[in-house]
């Protein structure tokens, strides 16, 4: 693969803190190698800003290998940028060419308030998990790992849903800012396993209820979430979650 260097114009959302108004600022970066990752390009820009005595751009990132779910940039109108099934940190500058203008925004959703610049507060996801995204088993209670065989298809489907990294790209892309894909991935991950079965009904009801409280919308099955999910979580999980909710709600005796 041929390597090349490029000069770019960046339009980045700047917002000093949660309460202040933000605005876009325009920056020029030069000699960016096509081998850099998108975040390394931001490192270059930030070094430049620090040297100029300006405030560097705050952005969330940690593992830089596409698994921790921390990075979260809305790049040119798409969560995590133009590459399919890729997190921002795994996006490389090969995706761009010399002279491009790149607009970078934070996730926008009431459930994800901006903390600073491109950093948002996603603790709402933790609270949704607290509402029921677990299996109630205390340490030491477990039976042998092979005591309950699990149908491979179910184990695989459960794994596919469990691959969610809770980055929030689904919410960012959804026109309704719905957290349904995130929530349904957890409902499917645990609900498909025999170990998660006993709490299946209560789990879906209380997690949905928490999602409402956190300020996320309903799913209208546009499919945008699935299209931008870096871990390719399937939208069929949402249907499964709706089914579980329907059965749980109808059979509830309270």
């Amino acid at each position: 693969m041929e390597h090349y260097n490029m000069n770019l114009t960046l339009k980045v959302w700047r917002q000093p803190n949660k309460t202040s108004d933000g605005k876009f600022e325009t920056y020029q970066v030069k000699n960016i190698s096509s081998e850099m990752s998108f975040l390394e390009m931001f490192d270059v820009l930030n070094e430049q800003l620090v040297m100029e005595g300006r405030d560097p751009i705050a952005f969330d990132h940690d593992c830089r290998e596409g698994i921790c779910g921390m990075c979260s940039m809305f790049i040119n109108g798409r969560p995590h940028g133009p590459w399919h099934a890729t997190t921002t940190c795994q996006l490389h500058m090969r995706a761009f060419k010399d002279g491009d203008t790149i607009v970078v925004e934070p996730w926008r959703a009431n459930g994800f308030p901006v903390i600073k610049d491109l950093v948002t507060d996603r603790t709402s996801f933790d609270r949704i998990i607290q509402a029921g995204g677990f299996i109630s088993v205390n340490t030491g209670n477990a039976v042998d790992g092979n005591a309950i065989p699990i149908e491979k298809d179910h184990a695989d489907a459960s794994f596919a849903a469990a691959a969610c990294i809770a980055c929030g790209a689904c919410v960012a892309a959804c026109k309704n800012a719905s957290a349904s894909l995130f929530l349904s991935a957890k409902v499917a991950h645990l609900g498909l396993l025999p170990q998660g079965y006993p709490e299946k009904k209560n789990r879906v009801l209380s997690m949905v209820s928490q999602m409402d409280k956190e300020g996320f919308g309903s799913c209208t099955f546009t499919g945008a979430c699935e299209a931008v999910c870096p871990k390719e979580i399937s939208i069929t999980n949402i249907s499964r979650m709706h089914k579980d909710y329907l059965f749980a709600g109808l059979s509830s005796e309270k």
Partner: protein, 657 residues
């Protein structure tokens, strides 16, 4: 003299005996006892969940925005457990033995045996939590083999085992948060340990969003803050992984064990240029099917596909016929470095070797043709079917490689090179995981305990969860049983005042330097010194130079670093500055330790000490001990030695030939 508090008795009985006789805390008292946990990776989250379940009042802290982001999540390959589900001769003893041997006889027998004993419980616990491990068609758990062992004992969830295990622990933790047993503090960083009358009694944290300093009391403090590989700047660690929590504890009196033991992972994507911010690991599981080679001719610039079979040097298979490509990590890494240093490296940087799947694709293709009863099929079909099988097994890793390098690993061999991955060293702890400060514990990668001088693949996850789920819930009771009469100490206590004032002064000092060099640039310089002189191969001269260079760098850092912004705001540059300042001090200690240990063992390779064939040469008579360093003053440490006694295993020269 360091007392590791190893229980008496037979090795196999030690942990059982300990558990049966350890002091207990009754449930009513547990509610009154507060425990602080710093870090929420596998060790921290599992400890927080397990202790919350027991009824202790737990406060957990992490610097990320959620406990689920901790870098345990990035572990790919798997987790070992002595289940012997595959009927291939595995046992607790064999796992114990492999781990001791893999660690090059520099770990404690009792700790490692306990680790092997509880390994099976971990798998059971994780399955019960809903961790979706890979399964066979019969619905039972699947296993694979991993570097440095000859049995299949590794449980895995595709290439995301760490993620799945962490999510299991995270969910257990969040359940305790929902039940009110754990208070979770995200985007908080521990900046000081508070000790009262010699016991750990709390921490000072900084709220990374508002910049405010906070005081937190605990009857005991657990550090679960992970490894310090980022001292090398480039490593497979997350950008935020740091040594600050354990370094603060070290400077408050906790001894640092074996700081120089660093694991260099053999299969990482090579560096492309100065812009590089981190290195990405390609799971060790790839070595099950990939063959590692370099050209037989020095400085061969032909493309990989243009180099005929007979001109390729499969150097691992040549040097280590018994284990071949599956030798332990330290051995594989050094072999790669040796080839590249000798001028056989590939790629534009010449600092890489090939990891080739062409043979595996052919082999799987033929098996597949046989399975489908296709008889004689043409080569193209076999290749196609082989690629499908390889995709099934390693698809996500291949995709990741392609995203980063822009090369298609199904067509051309991967280029790989070793990179810093794990630090076996850490705070010295006794059998109960307590450091030399009473009431201060260290769990997971941040302690030194179980891996000796080299960690085997799929053992880090095992150790993190063993410490959190199955060790600390027992051992902490032994300490807290004597603390039940201690009421919560108000954080207005002078010790808290003093600790907070110290933190505040340090932050202000950093901000007031207003120099001309960025934090990042100085971190890079530290990393270069460490990698060049305290990396895969070390020698006395280089280490002595490194110590001087690091001292110089430290002086420069504290007089010329440039930190933008202010204290009372979200300021990642300031966070990073504090961490880099600690890395600089740790770097010095690592070099001192590496210099002191005048032998080669596991990940610590001193060029002066090697066999004629270039293998690590231990000096058991002089160095069969744990180096535990006590901080005394700037640039001054005192070495304490904990002798390692081998009652069961007889140390030999490791051989993987």
């Amino acid at each position: 003299m360091l007392d590791a508090k190893i229980p008496a008795g037979n090795l196999e009985k030690k942990w059982d005996d300990y558990k049966s006789h350890v002091k207990l805390v009754n449930p009513a008292n547990k509610r009154k006892l507060e425990i602080i946990i710093v870090g929420t990776g596998l060790a921290g989250a599992s400890a927080a969940a397990a202790l919350g379940e027991l009824g202790y009042k737990v406060k957990a802290f992490c610097f990320q925005d959620s406990p689920r982001r901790a870098h345990s999540i990035a572990a790919q390959g798997g987790i070992n457990a002595a289940k012997n589900y595959q009927n291939d001769g595995d046992s607790v003893f064999r796992l114990f033995y492999d781990t001791i041997k893999g660690g090059d006889y520099r770990s404690r027998e009792a700790n490692v045996h306990r680790l092997a004993e509880v390994s099976a419980n971990i798998i059971d616990q994780c399955v019960a939590q809903g961790v979706p491990f890979a399964r066979e068609y019969g619905g039972l758990l699947s296993n694979r083999s991993f570097g440095g062992t000859q049995v299949q004992r590794t449980f895995y969830a595709a290439g995301q085992t760490g993620q799945q295990l962490l999510i299991g622990a995270y969910q257990a933790l969040e359940r305790q948060v929902a039940l009110g047993n754990v208070d979770m503090y995200t985007r908080h960083e521990m900046l000081e340990l508070v000790t009262i009358d010699g016991k750990a009694r709390g921490i000072i944290t900084r709220n990374l969003v508002s910049g405010e300093l906070e005081r937190h009391f605990g009857h005991a403090v657990l550090l679960c803050s992970g490894g310090y590989g980022n001292v090398f700047y480039l490593s497979t660690n997350a950008m935020g992984s740091n040594t600050t929590a354990i370094w603060k504890a070290h400077k408050k009196g906790a001894y640092f064990g074996n700081p120089c033991y660093t694991q260099i992972h053999p299969t990482c994507i090579p560096v492309t240029g100065d812009h590089q911010s981190k290195l990405t690991l390609m799971s060790e599981s790839l070595r099950n099917d990939g063959r590692i080679w370099v050209p037989k001719k020095q400085g061969d610039t032909r493309k990989s596909i243009d180099i005929p079979e007979e001109e390729r040097d499969y150097y691992l298979e040549r040097r280590y016929p018994a284990y071949g490509n599956l030798v332990p990590r330290d051995v594989a890494s050094r072999a790669a470095k040796e080839r590249c240093d000798a001028g056989y490296g590939v790629g534009t940087s010449r600092q890489a070797v090939f990891l080739d799947f062409a043979a595996a694709i052919q082999r799987y293709g033929k098996i597949e043709a046989g399975k489908r009863g296709l008889g004689d099929v043409d080569a193209a079909t076999i290749t196609l079917m082989g690629k499908e099988v390889v995709k099934e097994k390693y698809g996500n890793l291949f995709d990741m490689y392609e995203k980063i390098t822009g090369e298609n690993p199904y067509e051309v061999p991967m280029r790989i090179y070793p990179a810093v991955h794990y630090t076996m060293g850490g705070l010295w702890v006794d059998y109960e995981l307590m450091t030399t400060i009473p009431g201060l514990y260290a769990l997971g990668e941040c302690n030194f305990s179980d891996h000796g001088a080299n960690r085997l693949g799929a053992s880090a996850l095992m150790q993190g969860l063993a410490d959190g789920y199955f060790v600390i819930p027992y051992t902490i009771g032994n300490y807290l049983a004597d603390e039940i009469r201690v009421n919560a100490i108000p954080t207005s206590h002078p010790a808290f005042e003093e600790a907070e004032a110290k933190v505040k002064a340090r932050i202000e000092e950093l901000m007031n330097i207003k120099g001309s060099q960025t934090v990042e640039s100085m971190h890079k310089r530290l990393g270069k010194i460490m990698w060049d002189k305290c990396g895969m191969a070390r020698n006395a001269q280089g280490l002595q130079e490194a110590i001087q260079e690091i001292r110089q760098l430290k002086a420069e850092f504290w007089s010329d670093v440039k930190i933008p912004g202010t204290i009372n705001e979200f300021n990642p540059e300031l966070d990073k500055a504090g961490r880099v300042a600690d890395f600089i001090e740790l770097g010095e200690l690592m070099c001192i330790d590496a210099l002191e240990r005048s032998e080669s063992c596991g990940g610590h390779f001193r060029e002066e000490h090697q066999t004629e064939e270039g293998e690590a040469l231990r000096h058991d008579a002089e160095f069969m001990f744990v180096s535990a360093w006590e901080y005394q003053a700037q640039h001054q440490w005192k070495l304490h030695k904990e002798p390692l006694l081998y009652d069961v295993v007889k140390p030999t020269q490791r051989s993987y030939k």
